[in-house]
Symmetry: C2
Subunit: 192 residues, 2 copies
DNA sequence: CGCGACGTTGATTTGCCTCAACGATTGTGG
DNA sequence: CCACAATCGTTGAGGCAAATCAACGTCGCG
């Protein structure tokens, strides 16, 4: 339960009282794999902080093609930022990939906390910045790197996550077909 | 000079006095093509609003490959949001593509305006959201669309811009080589 | 047990890149 | 005002990365 306090303390300092107040405004939930937390086309009202397990956010194209925006495992936040911030309906799904224990921060409680602990504005602003810069970087990576290089970056960013999720999810994240991803990995193994 | 007030009025309502105050905090500048407004590796301290002309933001990879983040023409804002918000050095260049007349809003003046006209926080928050969602959409497009489809989207988004800038800039934006882009266009012409 | 999702492998195709050459346009200095 | 260089757009030949289609073994789960 202290994991989320660690996350906060990376950017702001809270007094014990403030920490307690913060914790009183988040709700713990245990979720089974395949649970859908957020539907494309609906308005996102919560942010999720992952204590254990794995979540992913993705969208689905006109067709039936899924594309993964991000994964979130222990210590990460995940949400449909656009929908959450704008109050408009979003285009992302959020789904549990591996049984998870998460903390839910509703937008409503977030506003209350902003009022009580203004420092939190800074914290969540930094989260948005990080999201923005992560998107920018990934966009540039997709324009300029090969699939193999993107895979390397994925491994660095998500560490052991790669051993806990279906390989096709990774393929989707780096933007290749599962078949090609499989071949790529065996090629990498041979050349090392 | 009223163009920027139109931009504001799309999301918030300002009284004449507030409008005047706002205008007093931005500085008009006339710039020649090829002017560099922002250097990668430096801290971005301004937002730019384009009255006329064209600007672009881009980064340069390890190598010598440029990738365009965005264009801005009449009525658009442009800046290195990440650097501006975080105060850290950014990785984008901002350059004038076509002689331009812009309004410069320094971060300093922006803070002052936030204080005097709190409604502006809302306006700039919406700008950030739009930036975030534009990045997300482009990321998804790059993962799932062909070069031709990305070109179509570019045309819709940037309208007549395509006739005013070097074609290689468009190629860079949609993520193909100038050669391939040229062939693609002539193929499109034949098939229509 | 049997079904469905997943990962793998092979054959073939295709979208896009690289390299190279050439005309047209721009702009710059003499 | 011309001459030359530089930049740009186009075209072609050839190559490679990744997609598509199809078949098959494996595993987890109802």
């Amino acid at each position: 339960m202290t994991l989320i306090l660690d996350s906060l303390s990376k950017h702001i300092h809270l007094t014990p009282q403030e920490q307690e107040l913060f914790l009183s405004k988040v709700e713990s939930k245990k979720l089974k794999a395949k649970t859908i937390l957020q539907q494309s086309g609906t308005i996102c009202k919560d942010s999720y902080f992952v204590n254990s397990g794995i979540l992913r956010s993705f969208n689905i194209n006109d067709n039936i093609v899924e594309h993964i925006m991000s994964f979130a495992c222990s210590g990460w936040w995940i949400s449909d930022m656009y929908s959450l911030l704008s109050g408009k309906s979003g285009n992302l799904f959020i789904e549990v990939l591996e049984d998870a224990e998460i903390l839910v921060l509703s937008k409503e409680n977030q506003e209350i906390l902003y009022h009580e602990i203004p420092k939190l504005e800074r914290f969540f602003r930094i989260l948005i910045e990080n999201s923005l810069v992560a998107n920018q970087e990934r966009l540039m990576d997709n324009l300029s790197l090969s699939a193999e290089e993107r895979y390397e970056k994925f491994q660095v960013k998500y560490q052991d996550l790669q051993y806990r999720i279906p390989q096709k999810q990774i393929a989707s994240f780096i933007g290749v077909t599962p078949e090609f991803f499989s071949k790529m990995k065996s090629r990498i193994l041979k050349n090392s």
